[in-house]
């Protein structure tokens, strides 16, 4: 496929891959060889958002082989639902925990999450018009219960909506907590957590100032790290 016919963003990605090959295959040939011959052995599953500004590998300065990564809208974990239909996030959790045997699962939320904005609109009774985003983000719907006075009247939900849109970080962090809770509904997760061989972490990255917050396992509250 001739390189020159490509549009600019694609040409730049191809140049990036050329640089990756120079760096990891030629400059430091040992760095990839072991990952190829021995396979991957990551210790960490990170469930992050698709948002282009919060890339798990860039954010944590990871090298190839370190992080097994799921990325979806709003870094959500659905509850355990083994009904034979397509569950991409659940499949990745199962693969990471049962096949790769990771020791840590991290749910990584972040500020300014568009998916959580959608959830706020949805839960405060605003009109939505999409096929998949609203059903998907409704996974974290119950996270808003403490913050919603009721959807029984237009006035009230309007007030809720305004208030929540002014503090979306509260919802973003509540949604991370829900996802961590949902992780515990997977039997193969719960067993290993109870056996002490798997740790669950809830993180929230404040895009505005670069601070990381994490759930304190004792108080279950988010605290700056």
């Amino acid at each position: 496929m001739p390189h020159t016919e490509q549009s600019q963003p694609i040409r730049q990605l191809l140049a990036g891959i050329k640089g990756f090959r120079a760096r990891y295959y030629e400059r430091r040939p040992d760095s990839m060889r072991q990952l190829v011959t021995e396979g991957q052995h990551p210790e960490i599953l990170m469930i992050g958002c698709s948002d282009s500004r919060v890339d798990p590998a860039l954010l944590t300065q990871a090298e190839p082989g370190e992080l097994f990564v799921v990325r979806n809208v709003a870094n959500l974990v659905p509850p355990y639902q083994p009904d034979g239909s397509y569950h991409g996030t659940s499949a990745a959790i199962e693969y990471a925990v049962r096949v790769l045997g990771v020791s840590h699962v991290i749910v990584l939320g972040h500020a300014q999450c568009g998916g959580i904005q959608g959830l706020i609109r949805l839960r405060t009774g605003q009109k939505t018009d999409d096929d998949f985003v609203s059903p998907w983000v409704s996974i974290a719907g119950s996270a808003l219960d403490p913050y919603i006075n009721g959807a029984d009247g237009t006035e009230r939900s309007q007030a809720d909506a305004e208030r929540l849109q002014q503090q979306p970080d509260v919802v973003e962090r509540a949604a991370v907590r829900t996802s961590v809770d949902n992780l515990m509904t997977f039997p193969f997760v719960r067993e290993r957590v109870e056996a002490g061989t798997l740790s669950l972490h809830g993180w929230w990255f404040d895009l505005e100032d670069g601070e990381l917050w994490a759930i304190d396992p004792k108080t279950r509250l988010f605290e700056p790290v």
Copy 2:
């Protein structure tokens, strides 16, 4: 949350985030500020595998803000199925195409894909024992049709299995083709592709030698880039 109580892999991730903050918020303060004040405007949606060795941002040397990323087992795109249940990958595609208005969608497959190994076992009649991985990878099941002589007899499927396990890259590339085809079942994708404002790409990264292969839009065959 005291830093020192954390285990080694987590401490290292936290150190990585500290380095990210030093680099992107203090060393080059302009680099994140714009992404925070103006929001994200990625031109590319990349659908990659959760495999720790094939990180889209590392592989393409991307900076924050460049790639909107979905990662799931075997970089699969399910068919359009707007039934109100949880479809994480479809939600991300919808968000990228309809809300962010990306210009390119890239499905990025790779060599040595564990999910595709699972698909080969599944399609050649071997016993599987999982809740989510097998149903999930069956999305690409039809990709194997041309390579399976039939699952009607144990002998035959055994031969198929052996043959396919010796050339998994054929299946990996066929699965990328299936995912690209499935993208076209989404009305909001098809419309924009037909209007010429959205391009679909099928890539396969050969982990063993660092070469990238891409679907030639004319022949629909994979060629080295």
Copy 3:
């Protein structure tokens, strides 16, 4: 020149340059173009050691164009001596200050400096056997005066040598101070410092724990930054 005939370390450097070209000329074409068309405009002259472990660009996460760099053994600045012979470090200082008009000159010392080890041996009367290193490091010879009880007897200088070799960081920092003082012997430096358009900095990097120390302009003592 065929790539394949080269020995391994050279092949790896060439691969690194290939990666640089992919990254800076193709992946981010704007990053070098401006430096090529408009020339360099660094604000900083850094005078560092040749030591492979203390690279100014890596240490400060600099991009091309940011630092004008001199590197010599023990990051020394000789006194102003315009005698028409070859003065490499002085030429670079002159070029940076008079032609490029930098705003800052930083002398960057570091722990475990082999050149300073040589200076300690030299100043404590130990035998040296070299053509250039001893004369060169003697630039900072006076830096040791406060720490040497006298070179008049073997016993005494032996004691000095042992003591100094146990705390070479004292000498390393004193040598940085001498180099900063020597900078002020250059008329074109002194004038701009006195005019307030040029700042001089003395830094010392503790290789062992990664801490940076800097001369406090008021007390002239090194303090952790």
Copy 4:
């Protein structure tokens, strides 16, 4: 020293060092520890220019510990002159070859070299007004002999100047050749080259297109690598 009192370029360097510490001391603690406990063992001495755009470590994607580096104006090596005065570049060559035992010495020139511009002005009889740059770059003066018709008349040298200023890359490469020749005047270099344990390389980096040129050891001509 309070961080906040510093000017912007210095604050950014300090942030870079903070990032370096996070990356090399905390994120990958093994990467520096060995260099601290075992000392440096670089295989390569690189003699590069002080120019901010051609940083040896960035250009070759080196990690700490890989390159012992001299940087001066125009990447020059003076001839062997063991007269007891200050010879910074010669001291570094001596340290690299005799103490560290490097296997390769690379002289790295580049396009758009300000020092070489100065040399062209100097050798074509133009007025210069500096203390150190002109004497220093005169090291490579003989490199211009084949390109200068004579400095005996104003007209002729004017024509030479115009011609050379239009093709400075010829002079830049000739100067690299002179520096490589000068390396052979150091007895400790010559001995090891003749014994086959040390290799000398002359490189020239074309800043404009990112191509590297190298002296072909057989023809002594520069060829693209």
